[in-house]
Symmetry: C2
Subunit: 443 residues, 2 copies
């Protein structure tokens, strides 16, 4: 199937399946070629083909041994190929580079930018090593190079620093940028496992590679910190200027001592501006237990930025994984489509929303304050039963006067409307000293 | 002083003080008129006139009783006025509306948009009530209307949802959007104060207005949740569709019972998509103590968004205050300047960075594992003293064998380079069973 063929199918698809898009005229869907059909690539393809079928037309999927990669849930018009030339010579507007590694991915990105195709990549090593040079190449060819997925996966921290905090002057960045290290250290803390046991467990759970050196020894986080520092401080940091130290030497006895000091141990990536010097490095460090850096557990990531005017801003979430990384890739793609005047409307929800309502279904906490006498619980229980609301627990704390006795009933989830009717009836009872207080219990 | 006069001065300033800007040609500074010179307005003016003097030219400051507002740190060319017509008839590209309230601020915003001026506003009530209509007016007149500062001050959550998570489908938003309520509830929890005492204290500390109803009764958070929901779900939510309940009825006894249930009580803003219905409301609720919603203390804000693909993403930071809100305003202004092809370069740091270094100055934790004998502490102390590193504490836990005894020395802050020299010397000593482990202690 030629790329022309793929294109023709693509346009036919638009005309046939979504006439409303055709109304946009120049606002045609953005044509996207996908390089790398692993975990992230497949997540991206799924999101594009389901949620964003009107905005994007997937033209190519490029991967080595492509025959083994073919799936039936990708539209028929997609051109499967193991030759990058097919992508380069196609009319794709944007190439998604989800192959990873410096070579040949770097070569492919350069060639795509050189022919004026925009590139979205999740490749932290490539951007950390060659980002400024590739950005220059993109500019020279009127293309965009976006890499939001290269740092902290689904957490929009690069956009946050670049757009949302553009008005501030960032002084300090501290983050947990490697989920594997965080998983191992929180697991050592939780279960008193040795480093080796926690690493083995992380490998068994899929949170660590068989060769975990890149994560454990800080090289993965260093690449991310390099990219983050460029964005935060507007300084062209080279990856080799950022030091990386391993977490391998951290032992149980260190976590115990850290605890005695009100701290825990985490692999911390940090960069701090001080006069004419930017300090930057990745290493295990003691952080106070109350710090946001200590409270990110398992494979989560967090970035804490400190600005001269805005103070501390914290971004956290899922820093890795196919779907969160794919969200970052698709978000970058939408940005490029908007810049190029292509269709980048936010799609409406799968089910159109017809109603805005306050009628949440949640568990409830109801606190009463009563003039105590026998039979109170019975009359309340009868009313809740009448509205088929299940009582979960009845709680009472000692030390209050019988004539103004507080107690609490917790209820299993029911709708706010049902709860409201039951409470209206309950408020009529004669033993209340204060009106009862009804609060939802969120989980 | 006429607006022409102000403009002339402005251009002169550019030519005289920053010849490098003139090279940009069409890339001239963006002309900005400031309406409202209160806390936020003054912060914005300070940031514009210091950090962004090359990017923006402040042409007007509009306020009632303007004579009382004049200050000497604003450039001479700025036109001080108490007549909004002066702003409307000027050549300002962008009007910053930092007056607040529905009227006359809404009238001013409409009139500015109608003559094609872009508007940046921090006015949550106006955007919550009239946002969609004003956005339409902006589009019709080729202007932009941005309101990043209207929700959660300096936390870039609207950009995060709109750009960074654009590729996801947001299913749920939960947030703490009112710092006053959060301060009062955390203070009640911390010091066992009554609601009235905590409110009085918040008022004394400047965290609450004399008339605190807007905060306490949920109207402030409701406006923010309305705006946030439009951005997150792409649904045109009207403010009256979102319910608001007061925190006034929460008592100490409720915090005690909540604690017994492993929870705390917070004013929670939440919106959840379920089929064809969007549930939305603001109310006090029990939240688990381990939830990010429970761990935001004092006047901080937090937003937790849950996406179909990306899972939970958390944004937190300073949700109010002059400087953080000003950061959001200036960030929006930079976005508009970029869209309009005006100069929006990120300024370099005040002090240009000449060096990237790993030589952080921090406190240190050093764990030794030794074959115990008298004199070990003395020899370590001598070496630290030689490098003028102060010992903070010596810690030892019971239960370890003398032949492989771990103990810890914590050190007052010193540079990594000094530390490294001292440790090189220490490693030569003959009592080590394992090489010592040196970690920074972050504060």
């Amino acid at each position: 199937m030629s790329s022309d063929h793929a294109l023709r199918f693509c346009q036919e698809d638009i005309v046939v399946s979504s006439p409303e898009v055709a109304q946009f005229g120049a606002n045609r869907p953005c044509k996207v070629a996908l390089a790398g059909f692993g975990t992230v690539g497949q997540s991206v393809a799924r999101i594009l083909c389901s949620r964003f079928a009107q905005q994007f037309c997937l033209t190519h999927v490029f991967n080595r041994r492509i025959e083994q990669k073919k799936t039936d849930w990708v539209p028929n018009h997609v051109h499967w190929t193991d030759r990058f030339e097919h992508v380069l010579n196609s009319d794709a507007d944007v190439v998604l580079e989800l192959v990873g590694g410096l070579d040949p991915a770097g070569e492919w990105v350069s060639r795509a930018l050189a022919v004026g195709k925009s590139v979205v990549t999740a490749n932290k090593q490539l951007i950390a090593r060659r980002g400024p040079e590739l950005m220059q190449l993109a500019r020279e060819n009127g293309a965009h190079l976006l890499y939001g997925a290269s740092v902290a996966g689904g957490i929009p921290v690069l956009q946050g620093l670049q757009d949302g905090l553009a008005g501030d002057r960032i002084l300090k960045i501290r983050g947990i940028l490697n989920g594997t290290c965080n998983y191992i250290l929180t697991e050592m803390e939780r279960s008193q496992a040795t480093f080796s046991d926690a690493l083995e467990q992380a490998q068994a759970m899929g949170f660590a590679e068989a060769d975990a050196s890149d994560d454990i020894d800080g090289f993965d986080a260093r690449a991310k910190l390099t990219i983050l520092s460029r964005t935060a401080f507007g300084i062209n940091v080279a990856i080799d200027q950022v030091f990386a130290r391993s977490i391998r030497e951290v032992e149980q006895v260190d976590l115990s001592h850290a605890h005695d000091l009100g701290c825990t141990i985490r692999q911390i990536s940090r960069a701090e501006l001080d006069g004419e010097t930017l300090y930057a490095g990745v290493q295990p460090a003691l952080v106070p237990e109350a710090s946001p850096l200590a409270r990110v557990s398992g494979s989560q990531n967090v970035v804490v930025s400190t600005g001269e005017f805005g103070g501390e801003t914290i971004f956290s979430g899922r820093g890795a994984g196919g779907d969160p990384t794919a969200v970052a890739v698709v978000s970058d793609l939408l940005w490029i489509a908007r810049q190029n005047g292509l269709n980048a409307e936010t799609p409406s929800a799968k089910t159109p929303v017809k109603d805005v309502s306050g009628d949440f279904t949640t568990a409830h906490y109801v606190r009463f304050r009563v003039n105590d006498r026998p039979g109170i619980i019975a009359s309340l229980a009868n009313i809740f039963a009448k509205y088929t609301i299940n009582i979960d627990a009845v709680l009472q704390r000692p030390g209050y006067s019988k004539s103004s006795l507080p107690f609490v009933i917790t209820l299993e989830p029911c709708s706010a409307a049902t709860m409201s009717e039951a409470m209206a009836e309950i408020r009529q009872l004669d033993f209340h000293v204060h009106p009862p207080l009804d609060l939802p219990i969120l989980t």
